[in-house]
């Protein structure tokens, strides 16, 4: 009897872990870009080491980005960004925690692109705010491509730009998310 229970427990836990494995997708090399466009100049930077975790069952979506990991073409911009604007020594990490609100419409087993609505809390520069955005999820050969473009206002996150650079840096920053997630084993 005890043997049977143990076997049943093992089988059950195995089964549970398989189901669980199919549920989550992740990456540690997601790309998140920021873009500022003004009449003076366009500035862009990309972070290639963003962490993203998506639970396909619940639609829970999380991102973690290290601010020092944004690469600018010009070193001076990168240094100003880190030391003066986002103060990355004080606030090394930005995070998003939220949900895909229309997760039930996404079939994670078919090779189709779905439009999704995402809602959650975005923390940058130590300030947390509710954000909402749209994006797409494409399931392709077992991998999951997550893309989104949205804008944030730097004033919302208490990021101050010196007067001297007011005209060079947009008040609204475009954020582009481009992640390829793999199933979590």
């Amino acid at each position: 009897m005890i043997k049977k229970i143990i076997i049943a427990a093992i089988v059950f836990s195995l089964f549970a872990s398989i189901v669980n494995a199919q549920g989550k997708f992740y990456t540690k090399s997601g790309k998140i870009s920021i873009f500022s466009a003004t009449s003076m100049e366009n500035i862009s930077a990309v972070n290639k080491s963003s962490v993203c975790l998506l639970d396909s069952k619940t639609g829970d979506l999380q991102f973690a980005v290290l601010m020092k990991g944004f690469e600018f073409r010009k070193a001076k911009m990168q240094e100003d960004f880190n030391s003066d604007y986002v103060e990355s020594s004080k606030f090394p990490k930005s995070e998003f925690k939220g949900q895909i609100t229309n997760n039930s419409t996404v079939n994670y087993n078919s090779n189709v692109t779905y439009s999704v609505n995402v809602k959650g809390k975005l923390t940058i520069h130590g300030v947390t705010r509710d954000v909402e955005s749209t994006g797409t999820i494409t399931i392709k050969d077992g991998k999951l491509l997550a893309n989104s473009v949205f804008n944030i206002l730097i004033a919302d996150y208490n990021i101050k730009v010196p007067k001297m650079y007011m005209d060079n840096i947009s008040k609204s920053i475009k954020i582009t998310v481009d992640c390829t997630l793999e199933p979590l084993k």
Partner: protein, 170 residues
């Protein structure tokens, strides 16, 4: 360096003031013009300066991947004061080599079986460096430490190094 520059500026100002008093005003104007040109040149150089290629620089810190992870796991805020933004040279076992659809390489340094790792994102200029590397061999990487992703999602913790180059064995 900065204090030296400040001292030189103050000296020049006093010198100019003296010249002004002693009616050598043309020389003062010349000094002002030259200073403006120097400042402009410096500003321009700063503006076009790109990130340093880490292929031929000395590291600020040399540490094994295992020790680096240990320090971050003990206290990431303390480790950040020592390593964040610095050039780190680290040696470890290659647990995985990841290449994405854009051809970007990430070398994962960790002991076999360990959940935590040092993730080295290879500088795109140096991506050829990564090609001959093999999993489960030892490698030394040099890169800028951009921080620690503490395990909050059940994916394992990672120290991130950016703009990495593979340090060739001599």
């Amino acid at each position: 360096m900065n204090s030296l520059l400040l001292l030189a500026t103050i000296g020049l100002l006093i010198f100019s003031a003296l010249l002004w008093i002693f009616r050598k005003r043309k020389i003062v104007l010349l000094i002002i013009v030259l200073a403006a040109i120097a400042a402009g040149w410096y500003g321009f150089k700063e503006y076009i300066r790109t990130n340093k290629d880490l292929g031929n620089v000395n590291a600020d810190v040399k540490i094994t991947a295992t020790d680096l992870i240990k320090e971050y796991e003990k206290s990431d805020s303390l480790a950040n004061t020592k390593y964040l933004g610095r050039i780190i040279e680290t040696n470890g076992n290659i647990k995985a080599i990841e290449k994405d659809e854009n051809g970007y390489y990430t070398i994962v340094l960790a002991d076999t079986g360990a959940m935590s790792s040092v993730r080295c994102s290879i500088d795109t200029v140096h991506k050829e460096d990564a090609a001959p590397l093999t999993v489960n061999s030892s490698a030394t990487m040099r890169g800028v430490c951009t921080g620690f992703n503490k395990d909050e999602m059940g994916l394992g913790s990672d120290v991130i190094l950016n703009r990495c180059v593979v340090v060739q064995k001599k």
